[in-house]
Amino acid sequence: MSILAWTYIMVIITFGLYLFIAWRSRVKETKGFYIAGASVPPLANGMATAADWMSAASFISMAGLISFMGYSGAVYLMGWTGGYVLLALLLAPYLRKFGKFTVPDFVGDRYYSSTARVVALICAIFVSLTYVAGQMRGVGIVFSRFLEVDVNTGVVIGMAIVFFYASLGGMKGITYTQVAQYCVLIVAFIICAAAISLKITGNPVPQLGFGSTIIEGESAGKYILQALDGIHKDLGFSEYTSAFGPGDMSMLSVICITLALMVGTAGLPHVIIRFYTVPSVKAARLSAGYALFFIALLYTTAPTLAAFARYSMIDSVNNTSYAEAPSWFKNWEQTGLVAWYDKDGDGIIRYRDGAPFQGPPQFSGEVGEYGQRLVTNSPTDNENELYIDRDIIVLASPEMANLSPWIIGLMAAGGLAAALSTASGLLIVISSSVSHDLYYRIINRQASEKQRMLVGRVMVGIGVLMAGYLGINPPGFVAQVVAFAFGLAASSFFPVIILGIFTKWVNREGAIAGMISGIGFTMFYILQTRFMGVDPWFFGITAEGIGTIGMLINFAVTMSVSKFTKAPPPEIQELVESVRTPRGAGTAIDH
């Protein structure tokens, strides 16, 4: 059977599974809809959190990014895992004891203020909406690459599926579909990495193969990283494992980006809210551990795939004539993710540092004398002749490792699982922020269960439509949008939640001023440097890392404003004391 047929089979089977699970876990009351009835076992919550967390970017783009960044790719690896330590130690158990439905719930109650609730609600919607836009785009891209449909058609199919299971089952529905989605995505990713590791090093465990020697070819007997460093040096790149080399990020940038991603992780509402769904404080702690374990399975595998694919790609393509190039090269050339510009006309592909030509490839529709697709871009004056999209690393790796077609189909299903699970988690946050925090807590305190469920479901629908719109008309690159979401989460929620738990004297005025100044600064800086062409003026820190500074500003403003204004009332100080001990963490109370 062909790759396309297998892909359709895998995608249809997995989608059927998700819909079946959603139907089985449909809910009728708000507690089920917002927090899955606070009855999810820690192990299942760990898997659901992992799927919720790992997006299309983690699954498809991250290994590719690392592959091209070498050492500096570590900012994503550490940044997107280290935040769970902060979550487990500083947030999850206390928020679970507090026991409400949403993140703005905590901010509103702890800071005894509807204004604080509204500010938190706006931050939550803003963060989730920026993030979900990238996910819907991701769904469309996976569809278009594997199923050969239009990107926009893919977005629409994804919207329909997510709407069905998120509106039917709410948090409960998405939790159990996320468990299934985690299994699909991790199996796909690991099979692929294991096969490529086995092929290159003879060791099927990628994390061990990463430190092993190459078994065949010119570099046989050398450690894989040693070989990569050597090849990089020969071709004019900086060494794969070397830090802060020429052209790479400075140490300050690496620190700031890593910290912004870690703190952003711990401040993302769709991640925090997962810890409301477990039955106890003990379960909240444990499920943070499981979540990171399941995430680490992918996150320790991704850098190995990055290195293997990099080696395999350079080894099989560089200094090879186009006629003898491997078949994956020509397959992906058809999708426009690979292009070759034969600068010296010798028919041999030469891969060196630098861009081969200006901008992304524009194909003329004609083929050159060796059968390559010609591009109309004007060439650069360096020696590099090869354009490679970063996403190719994951997408083409099953073919690089000569895996059978059904595994390629599984990869497509895995990519879709990653994108859909994250999108649905974000939609629940948008829905619960509006239907619970805004509609029930502020507009209509007399609303019945039925009315609130209806508003919740309608909000999922509106959220899907907005996400779909942004997916079809993306506001810039997906990666930029994601950087935005992390920076905003780091600079808005993290400081006020931490201070709300670990101090009793931080008050309403401080929290409101802190959230507004943190998110305001971060948003301003990102807009300036990313969209208005201003150079990064704050110690050269880029948009990805600026959330760290936004967070520090938030901490500073919250604390100093609190010092000069009235201390919180006694009942709030008691509330803070009560969240510090686990006993009495019942199920969520909804007043």
């Binding site: 280290g82 130690l89 450690y223 830090a243 690496v254 910290l259 003990k282 551990g289 006993r583």
Partner: protein, 84 residues
Amino acid sequence: MKKSFQEYWAKNLRLITILLIIWAVVSYGFGIILVKPLNAIWMGGFPLGFWFAQQGSIYVFVILIFVYCFLMNRLDRQYDVDEK
């Protein structure tokens, strides 16, 4: 009762501090600040700083959370504030 709660909280804060110091040392310390000197040392097939940045720190993060779970559950029982 009041005193034992304060003691419980102080012990919790101490545990969090120790674990977060380890968290910072493996990631920011070994993985970023000391990466250059550590990269001069090869352990098996890995330059050490690179290994901490792309593999080791993540393993340590996972272990830290499970250690925290275990020690906190014990502390909860000792101070009789656990869930029943």
